[in-house]
């Protein structure tokens, strides 16, 4: 049968062996639970990295302050630096025991993603909230949620009537 005679099949469904089956043979059976020894080893690794990360996080949060005014003035490079630093903090702070700092970084990233024109007060409040959380102030979950709600209200007030870019 040539191509012209082949019926038009809309989709083919394939079941391929897993990576583990291919490497270890068809008798491989997936484990039913995580190995606690592997998890312990991973937690040890995180503990080892935490000291260095904590120092680095302080530097990162401190550096954010310097990008606020240039970003508000429309400096694209400063905005990129602000976003990429906040993005890094969002990605890793929670892993190393600073989930609240990560939540504020996430909110700052979302603000920068959603608005073309950004206001220094909004950015400063975010960075100050991160700084306070890093010092152990306002790191409580409920307080952090209240702060995030306040930041949302501040964004709404600062951009009253403006549509977000996102």
């Amino acid at each position: 049968m040539n191509d012209a005679q082949t019926p038009d099949v809309p989709a083919r469904f394939l079941r391929l062996p897993s990576v583990a089956e291919r490497k270890l043979g068809p008798d491989f059976t997936a484990p039913v639970r995580l190995d606690p020894r592997v998890l312990d080893q991973m937690q040890d690794t995180i503990r080892e990295l935490t000291v260095k990360y904590s120092e680095n996080l302080k530097v990162q949060v401190g550096s954010l302050f310097s990008f606020i005014e240039p970003t508000a003035a429309g400096d694209a490079e400063a905005r990129n630096q602000l976003y990429s630093t906040a993005h890094e903090i969002r990605g890793l702070a929670g892993t190393f025991g600073y989930p609240t700092v990560g939540r504020f970084a996430h909110s700052l990233c979302a603000y920068l993603e959603n608005y073309k024109s950004v206001v220094s007060t909004v950015m400063r409040f975010h960075v100050e909230a991160m700084y306070d959380a890093l010092q152990g102030r306002g790191a409580d979950d409920i307080l952090a949620s209240d702060t995030l709600a306040s930041l949302d209200r501040l964004i709404a007030l600062s951009h009253d009537g403006e549509r977000s870019a996102g």
Binding site: A11, A20, K23, L34, D35, R90, L92, G102
Partner: protein, 168 residues
């Protein structure tokens, strides 16, 4: 066969533009006992390494410039090797995406580009371990049409969160 023995036979490619995230992921995978860990700082370099090294699993960030993790995944699924010889190793390779964007729009974009599984940031040890294990130990179900080959684009892809999704 223990998880560690399985992990020792794996070659995993990390693609992330953050050096810090690459280092943390590599350290965590190493502590899991993963045999070979490759890393790339961009989607382009990731695609090159995928074609030259044939990893068993790709762990990629979503947001990168100029080629992001979504495009990287689509190119892997399409067998688009940068060397242009069309001889890509395993275009059905499992792809885990780690992203801070856990909203439905980005998760849908990941699914439509062929991402196998989606992990929300921040990444936690147990979540990484669990999703890597699932990605390499579950059979790979592929849908193939004229325009697409990869995990079913109709499936429900839910981000695995180590903590509650953040309010946006």
């Amino acid at each position: 066969m223990t998880d560690r023995e399985l992990f020792a036979r794996l070659k995993i490619l990390i693609v992330d533009d953050s050096a810090e995230m690459r280092n943390v992921l590599a350290a965590l995978l190493e502590s899991m006992g993963v045999g070979a860990i490759l890393s790339a700082a961009s989607g382009e370099k990731g695609l090159e390494l995928f074609c030259s090294e044939a990893p068993d699993l790709i762990i990629t960030d979503g947001s990168m410039r100029p080629m992001d993790g979504y495009e990287l995944t689509r190119r892997v699924r399409n067998g688009e090797c940068p060397n242009g010889n069309g001889d890509c190793h395993d275009r059905d390779v499992p792809v885990l995406m780690i992203s801070g964007h856990v909203g439905p729009e980005m998760v849908r974009l990941a699914r439509d580009n062929g991402v196998t599984d989606y992990i929300g940031k921040p990444i936690m040890a147990a979540t990484l371990y669990e999703r890597v294990l699932a990605a390499v130990s579950k059979p790979i179900h592929i849908v193939e049409t004229k325009a697409y080959r990869g995990p079913s684009p109709r499936r429900r892809l839910v981000p695995h969160m180590s903590i509650d999704p953040l309010s946006e």
